[in-house]
Symmetry: C2
Subunit: 489 residues, 2 copies
């Protein structure tokens, strides 16, 4: 066991095995991800991990060494500057170490008698986050969630319960995360009304028209502060004004952009966020926490009333009256990890300024990377501003081919670099300025200390792979052979 | 950062601080939980952790030492044999160590390019679990969830989507976990129909009548294998037969009882489970994993089809065609921790027999504890069998008082022992044999190596506290003073 008087000693011996395996894996992997593609990774992982449930065990030391070696050699490591596909951050060592304490003690956040101090730490952490997001609200609050998807789900659930009479209608942008649509589906709500975007941001006039057309129904507007594809921030002041005029509740999905609030310099980009009733905020993106570190901030704690729940074994009335804190209404989950613990340690370690500096570093790096793309003769950056820390770009070799073939080159570049274990780039479909939608390579820069120079090797990797892909696609076009080779060798 | 070439070195230094703090906390706490009740814990926790988000940070070493000290000294440690309130297990050191690797590498389970090997490990793990639950099914499958609550939610969601035409009606026992009702509410379904229980188990005749009354509607029966209050297992063969006769889908919440399957000796108690369409299975209860370690097993992989989702940035059609595994339809979450990693390491380390032996130990300890209660002149065990590893009992001092006053003694005993930092006992309302429902003390025995003898001090703690509480309540009754004192000093 990890707890009790002898737990830390056992754990010390076993964490040594884990740390050794992690250390050895970096040179063994030799890049941001393993080479060979899905089939090769499956073969080497199975060799170390099968059968996963043997009849007789191999013992903790051997099992740890083998399985951790497999997962580490086969990882896409976001701490490698060439791993930039997603809102997938390299976690800070201090946050990971704090998480170890949470796992060892295993408090469960659904009742005081499973989490006496952990509950207090969660309360302090959510209070600080609530104040950060809604500094002027009289009684703001925040919940810890498993991520942006759960935060959006709870936001829609709270809006549904607050809406009466009649079924809630959700109105969101074409740029919204898929979890908004999924939440409406799960909750039995009508499909969200989708409003057109310009340059990846909600068009306020289109929003206003949509809200007018739905007059009479209870309404929830869902805006985004940091879109997944482009890092775009919706025009929050105009949206908040429009929502207020139409009596609509406002939710902002700031899973990506929320941490801009840590930086005095960048926080003004989120002006208007404080007018949202509910805000998704995520610290496993621009917050360098290991997953999960989701947050839902609410302007008014009373908004959370629909989550109240009483059950004799966790929060009986007489226990609550006698002073035992009631934690059950703080989540749609029951048993919960103490995810606030790693946030609290990170906050205390870095302070608001330290976190703000890391966010500024990512934004600055993205602009440096964007300029390097602009300066590169064989690459083209998507027209327009860089969204937070996301840069979209295309090889010129893709532009030289007709629409679908050009997009196939972009997709092939990404897959080739994945299969070769050289880079983990993302992809996004987005307008080409005033032109039609195209497929772009996406670099989501969340690395808290990689310099722009560390990212530059990506550019030549892309152009080299693009030239090969374009030649292959042109040749296949001539022969009728399939244009998209399989990833695995 | 925890990853990259230098990550393990940083992490090694910081985990030392964590392990030292965990080690020092055990004697400092001096028991299964801190003494003093909620207010005292809040004061000492705040002293070490406030402000949680300072303007300037204190550095990782100081932050870790302080906050981990706070959470550890203020923990209710399930590794202490006197911490038996809930389905709240002491995690195995091997599982906690494995979890450290997951946090350091931070794979996110929503796309291959964030989790190349972790995805394979999840696939191996869910395949093994699927086969364990549904050994004879041609194509079983399983998902990793955040716990029993999410598993039950997804089970109801899948049933809702599989039900047409008409709205799904859920039929469950009065013994079902609150998450079944909450899931129906979240999903916009009618409130579940509740069927009477006998001795904490669904009465099959009552179930049959309820299903007959709902004829024509799409139906889902939710049974429980291991109730939270009593560890009772519903009569699964009769329930499966009844569901089949009525064309109802069957879900079994085996969050507690599922791991009996690891033991050849105990598995027969779950006969009929293999006839369920969906099964909640939880390894952060009788599986000694740190939270979260939930599972939803399905008899037929096709059942999962409603979760399918396509989004260009995570699983574009051309990427999937090119061989990149599509992981997005494996959860209602998007970003996900690699919770299968710690399960896989634990399974490999212990094997099925090793896990089965730990489950058997808990069941055996509970029976030993139950006999000790039976032999104790000042205690009375709830009439009937022990459910899995849960023992309900009352002090005779409570029985000596009229109904409500007796229950108040039971509640006061629990709170007194919590406030004094001596024991973490649970509570449950349950029938007293053929008599009326009463409040009982609950011991949920999940400790994988505590002997019955280690648990015996609990008995005298209870009787001593009960005598005091009974005297206090009798005296208060005489004076009209409130019977329930506050917990905090």
């Amino acid at each position: 066991m990890a707890g009790g008087a002898h737990g830390p000693k056992h754990l010390r011996a076993l964490t040594e095995i884990v740390l050794d395996a992690l250390e050895d894996a970096v040179p063994a992997r030799g890049g941001p991800l393993p080479a060979g593609g899905p089939e090769a990774v499956a073969v080497s992982t199975r060799a170390l991990c099968s059968p996963v449930l043997p009849e007789e065990g191999v013992g903790p030391e051997v099992a740890l060494a083998d399985v951790v070696r497999a997962v580490a050699e086969g990882a896409a490591d976001p701490a490698d500057p060439a791993c930039v596909a997603h809102l997938h951050c390299p976690p800070l060592a201090v946050a990971v170490a704090a998480d170890l304490a949470g796992a060892a003690l295993n408090p469960s956040m659904d009742s005081w008698d499973q989490a006496p101090a952990a509950g207090v730490i969660e309360e302090l952490t959510t209070a600080a986050l609530a104040r950060l997001v809604h500094p002027a609200a009289p009684d703001p609050d925040a919940l810890i969630t498993s991520g942006g998807t759960e935060s959006n789900l709870v936001a829609l659930l709270l809006a549904r319960e607050g809406a009466s009479p009649g079924a809630l209608r959700v109105v969101t942008g074409a740029n919204a995360h898929h979890s908004v649509h999924r939440a409406a589906w799960m909750l039995g709500l009508p499909a969200p009304v989708v409003v057109a975007c310009r340059d990846g941001r909600i068009d306020p006039a289109a929003l206003d028209r949509a809200l007018t057309a739905l007059a009479g129904a209870p309404l929830l507007v869902v805006a985004t502060a940091g879109t997944t594809d482009e890092g775009r921030i919706d025009p929050l002041p105009e949206i908040a004004g429009s929502a207020a005029r139409h009596g609509a509740r406002l939710h902002v999905d700031a899973a990506y952009g929320g941490p801009l609030l840590f930086s005095e310099h960048l926080a003004p980009r989120l002006a208007g966020l404080e007018r949202a009733d509910t805000v998704t905020f995520d610290l496993h993106k621009l917050g360098w926490q290991p997953v999960a570190a989701g947050v839902l901030a609410v302007a008014d704690a009373a908004t959370l009333a629909p989550l109240a729940l009483r059950t004799d074994y966790l929060n009986a009335d007489d226990d609550t009256e006698a002073g035992l804190p009631d934690l059950l209404g703080r989540s749609i989950r029951t048993t919960r990890r103490p995810d606030a613990l790693k946030m609290a340690v990170t906050f205390r370690a870095l302070g608001r300024r330290g976190l703000g500096a890391l966010v500024e570093h990512c934004v600055r790096t993205a602009h440096g990377f964007g300029r390097a793309v602009d300066d590169h003769p064989a690459l083209r950056r998507r027209p327009g501003d860089i969204g937070i820390s996301t840069v979209l770009f295309r090889p010129a070799a893709a532009d030289a081919l007709p629409g679908e073939q050009g997009d196939a080159v972009v997709a092939a570049v990404r897959r080739t670099l994945l299969a070769e274990g050289r880079a983990v780039l993302g992809r996004a479909v987005a307008d080409d300025g005033d032109g039609p939608a195209r497929l772009w390579l996406k670099a989501t820069l969340l690395h808290p200390n990689a310099a722009t120079a560390d990212l530059l090797p990506l550019l030549d990797l892309v152009t080299t792979a693009a030239d090969r892909a374009a030649r292959g696609i042109s040749a296949a076009e001539g022969t009728g052979a399939p244009a998209t080779e399989r990833l695995s060798p």
